[in-house]
Amino acid sequence: MKADSPLLQITDVNKAFGGLHAVSNINLHLNQGETLGIIGPNGSGKTTLFNLITGLIRADSGEVRVAGEDTNLLHMRPWEVFSIGISRTFQNVRLALGQTVLENVMVGDYRESRTSWWTVLVRPGIVSLRDAKMKDKAMEALRFVAPALANTPHRMTGELSYADRRRIELARAIVGSPRIMLIDEPAAGMNARETDEIGEDIRKIRARGISILVIEHKMKFVASVASRIAVLNFGRKIAEGSYEEIRTNPDVLTSYLGRKGDHLAEVKH
């Protein structure tokens, strides 16, 4: 793992909506195997950054490169970004509520199950084979992230709790064996126990070799999963470093945490 050749390099990314600069000159990098936390107040551009990287929004300028790939991710469409090994979860859980748990996870690597339209008609055997393989992969991912859900893969997603849906999203994001995972506010709306569980899941994912970028508000949570943290405010990066460095950075304290940074002293790693 070379420190000078990061897995993901984000350079000078800019995006403005009308007069509002959502993201200004963001520079970040993610090394192989590490987890980078991104924190900042609402509206600081975190989710916009994710949307830019994954191709959902077109950036104004900048570069995002993955090690070993030539092209700038900012010019790619979402499915192309996925094919080079980047998957994600969403701040507002985006799942097909009218499909089962298993079906939603299967979406995560649909390339596995897809065939040509013609094949569907003339070679049904191949189609069922691919489908079966896809189901196996999906079940495996489900068991890894949420063993309880793996027992009821045919439940309708719309009937499940918020926490369960987040887990399904995580399973969906790892099915395709991505290199990099972008996780957007995994612990939002969760109680303390659920937050701990999600943190455990993320550490498990990292242990699988997937490098992670995680956005979250809860300081305790970010500190427990990330080795390095970047702080954004009004679309700019105002600090970057280990949890300790962030905690004592005056800019961070005033703009994001207010004067009450003292409570951070209680957080354990």
Binding site: R88, G98, Q99
Partner: protein, 390 residues
């Protein structure tokens, strides 16, 4: 001491199955009788009585039992319906007119299946499906008039529609819901105008007449079928051709719905951003889907032209597009069987209610409005769609 029940020689499951089979067949027979005999105000009274009867709680209980049974035995139901459809010409007492009406109704249902792919599966409002229908009809006709066999002209017409559908699909990528509806509206109108104006190709408003009969193994579709003990009216030829086409269309659509393509259709409807973020090339998929759904119009168009023997621009107007749309909505979006039933009902009803005559379109408009306000999910809503907006 319990008394041993007399063992039933026929297991109850099979006897219930036979009961359902006979029930469905008799439903077909009743329907045929209804078509043949019921007239005028007596008809209206009977229809109202039937609807009132269905509204009674007793009937509702019976209905739910029946529906539950059918749901658990889809294959039996399908086979029964197929047999019922096969025997239908006999139930209709060989009445050429009604057999013809049912043939056209089935053609209409084929279109409904195709439009269902556009509207029900990926949520695209296509107000110009009649334009695709026209392309299918005129393409097939031009080929058969040039001497090609119907059996070659039809796949050619389907391919043509597939290509044009692909173009429409490409348009749908750039335009969202409302705007796409306008595009299809313009498309349908353009096709109709082109048919009217390119007279060297299409004979314009005069239409193309004397479209050749179809031959199957030497037997012409215009000559009656001789069964020995009875002679079937010539319309029966096309009835069975259309039935075969409808069955094939339904099976085709159902097949695609049941594999990864159908899964992706649902995922795309409910979670389009998620699907794109995990590898689905959404624009390309939409193009493929629209092209696929357009093929059915080609099949329907070719059948239509050769069944009636005459086509003109009046058959391919905005009205027809709206009629097919109403059929899909009535039957429940995404529901293939619903599309078939909706298509047949909506085509047969005006025929039967001929005494309503000129008010037909007025009732159509009213029906559409009422349907959209009170039952936008149609007669057979898909329970898995309750999370969707439309």
């Amino acid at each position: 001491m319990s008394v041993q029940p007399v063992s039933n020689p026929v297991p109850p499951l099979i006897s219930r199955g036979i009961l359902v089979f006979l029930a469905i067949l008799s439903a077909f027979a009743l329907f045929a009788l209804f078509l043949l005999k019921a007239e005028g105000w007596g008809l209206l009274a009977a229809a109202i009585a039937l609807i009132a009867l269905l509204a009674l709680p007793i009937a509702r209980n019976v209905m739910s039992v029946v529906i539950e049974f059918i749901r658990t035995r889809p294959i039996l139901t399908v086979i029964s319906c197929f047999v019922g459809a096969l025997l239908f010409p006999f139930f209709l007492a060989n009445d050429g007119y009604w057999i013809h009406v049912l043939s056209i109704a089935m053609i209409f249902s084929i279109m409904a299946i195709g439009l269902n792919v556009h509207l029900g599966e990926i949520g695209l409002v296509n107000l110009g499906y009649a334009g695709l229908f026209a392309i299918g009809a005129y393409t097939a006709t031009l080929f058969t008039q040039a001497g090609y066999s119907f059996w070659l002209a039809t796949p050619l017409a389907m391919t043509m529609c597939w290509l044009v559908g692909g173009l429409l699909g490409a348009c749908s990528v750039r335009t969202t819901g409302d705007y796409f509806a306008l595009v299809t509206l313009g498309f349908g109108l353009i096709v109709q105008q082109l048919i009217i104006n390119l007279t060297w190709l299409t004979q314009g408003n005069n239409g193309i007449t004397n479209i050749a009969a179809v031959t199957i193994f030497g037997h012409s579709s215009k000559s009656p079928i001789n069964l020995g003990f009875m002679q079937l009216a010539p319309q029966v030829n096309f009835y069975y051709i259309c039935l075969a086409a409808l069955t094939a269309s339904a099976l085709l659509a159902a097949r695609y719905q049941s594999v990864w393509i159908g899964r992706m259709w649902t995922a795309l409807r409910q979670d389009s951003i998620g699907v794109a973020s995990f590898g689905l090339n959404v624009p390309y998929f939409k193009v493929q889907t629209v092209a696929f759904g357009s093929m059915f119009a080609g099949l329907a168009g070719s059948l239509f032209a050769h069944e009636i023997g005459f086509i003109s621009p009046d058959d391919f107007s905005l009205l027809q597009s709206i009629e097919v749309l109403a059929a899909v909505i009535l039957g429940g979006m995404g529901n293939i069987v619903g599309a078939i039933i909706g298509g047949i009902l909506l085509f047969v009803a005006p025929e039967k209610l001929r005494f309503v005559g000129d008010y037909r379109l007025l009732i159509y408009g009213g029906l559409l409005v009422i349907l959209l306000i009170y039952r936008p999910r149609g007669l057979f809503p898909d329970p898995r769609r309750r999370y969707e907006k439309f």
